[in-house]
Symmetry: C2
Subunit: 318 residues, 2 copies
């Protein structure tokens, strides 16, 4: 029962079902939605923010309908919903719910962090439940949340408790995909390890209690596709940790670049692509078929990863 | 004109006006609002979340009315609003707006962080503007945002750009107030500095372009009241940086503990107290007068800081 509810096991089951370790990032910037699509929503609500948020939600539904049978997971980047205020957060909540009705696991990419008592409230929002007038209610009810570990275990523990209680997961930032991540994360510590390695070791330690039947923990790590050397170091230091790998596609990471994030069992990593999938219509002069372009881009990414995994001799679905 | 719009200058002007370097934290956990007050909202809206969020907003208004003439700033902890979902974020937006109509500066304590392109969207949400159907619109329009610098300057730059364009500020996490912050932030780096010192030096560097007329930058630092020794080290390393100081009050920090956060001009720090102010009614058996207790607690805190500043001979309002 407890094992069945382990997030890492659930994730691996979905990856195996779709034979695809990839994630579509719903980084749905309102500015980038096709004009013809946006126009339908202009003036449909009293408030501009409400109309814009409705457009984001309906766009997301079309994307989800186009990719739900191909990928195991979607990742919603909170910034693009907060940018539209509380109505944007409504679009976030409704998108997460819709994705789950389509059988997708939902990662909230929110990189939340705070002191323990406060993190408990963030955890209630995304992973657990809030007590409202005497009733425990789930709020956004996503499967998984990204977290920043700068405040130490004390700021991560409330999330881990909810992971255990509700079968949820977290991914803690270790080595991020942005070029500027080197500035801080690659500084040497006195122990001889770099800061990102220290964080990696902490994350592996924090996740020990949540290792599932498949040998992976529900406490994962964010490790960017753009730094294959660092990924290799982390992979060997954190054998039981699932890596959420941003940076493939628009940020320049290739399928070969992400291979060091996988273990020899062909598991241990899920690779995210956002803009290159959901805005694949850009430059095609055929905006009306944006969903078809997204579907094709998701299929192309699956194929790209498949070839690279076969080349590495770690493709597990032959 | 540009100088007049500098956030650090605006903050100092408000501190001088109220003769009080303190901040009231609106960490308005719905669970902690008095029962008699909550009851009025039960069933007032179709959805439980909407009713609960309305209760939070109305509670905040009473607190703001009770303290707006005493303190220069309020700090809204996002976790307690997200915990109520998108309706909670509506309560956040409306509370921030109401506080500004009462002449208060508003800090969004959100500790946001991401790669550059994504941070731009967070910055649009809290500090800048989002383009909606061709019109630039402010969203939450808070004066200031807390930020986590783990991703390096690239993840902070979009905030700094909006600080400059819109006269806003940020506080970057340097040494947090939680006991567990030592685990990561106090590790030694190869340079001989601890991680929090490295972050402190980066923050001071990042803020150089935004130093205002009073000699302080709009890029501030979060430095917990619970670690006076670390605060002393940071104060001398970062003379032009304003410290946002959590941890006074409920977390155990005293007025004496926060003195190392101030410079000799009696500026350079704003001290936050949340639960000890807004939930000061707890244990008094007189819930109806919760706003009066909050007002008295805010006055007591001002007096407590005044005495400590006088003792240090840095009280600037004689």
């Amino acid at each position: 029962m407890a094992l069945k509810n382990n997030f890492a096991d659930r994730l691996i089951a979905e990856i195996d079902k779709k034979q695809n370790p990839s994630v579509v990032g719903l980084d749905t910037s309102f500015a980038k939605i096709p004009d013809f699509f946006k126009k339908d929503f202009m003036g449909s609500y009293e408030l501009a923010f409400q109309s814009a948020s409705q457009a984001v939600y309906e766009f997301n539904k079309k994307i989800i309908d186009a990719i739900y049978d191909i990928v195991p997971c979607v990742k919603l980047q909170l910034a693009y919903y907060e940018e539209l205020g509380d109505y944007g957060m409504e679009a976030f909540r409704k998108t997460a719910y819709y994705a789950k009705t389509r059988g997708l696991l939902v990662i909230a990419d929110a990189k939340r962090n705070d002191i323990g008592t406060t993190c408990k409230a963030y955890s209630s929002a995304f992973l657990g439940e809030t007590n409202i007038f005497g009733t425990q209610r789930s709020v956004f009810d996503t499967d998984c949340l990204t977290v920043n570990g700068y405040l130490g275990y004390e700021g991560v523990e409330p999330f881990i408790n909810d992971c255990e209680a509700f079968g949820k997961g977290i991914f803690v930032l270790v080595k991020t995909s942005n070029p500027g991540s080197q500035e801080f994360q690659c500084l040497d510590t006195a122990s001889g390890l770099k800061i990102y390695q220290v964080m990696g070791n902490l994350v592996a330690e924090w996740g020990k209690s949540l290792v599932g039947e498949e040998g992976y923990s529900s406490v994962g790590a964010v490790v960017g596709a753009t730094f294959p050397e660092e990924a290799k170091v982390l992979r060997s230091a954190m054998p039981n940790t699932v890596f959420l790998v941003p940076g493939y596609g628009a940020q320049g990471g290739t399928a070969d670049d992400v291979m060091p994030c996988f273990n020899r069992d062909g598991l241990g990593a899920i690779v995210n692509s956002s803009r290159k999938i959901i805005f694949a219509f850009q430059g095609k002069n055929d905006d009306n078929n944006f969903a078809d372009y997204a579907r094709q881009a998701a299929i192309d990414m699956r194929e790209d990863l498949r070839k690279a995994l076969i080349k590495e001799d770690i493709y597990r679905w032959n």
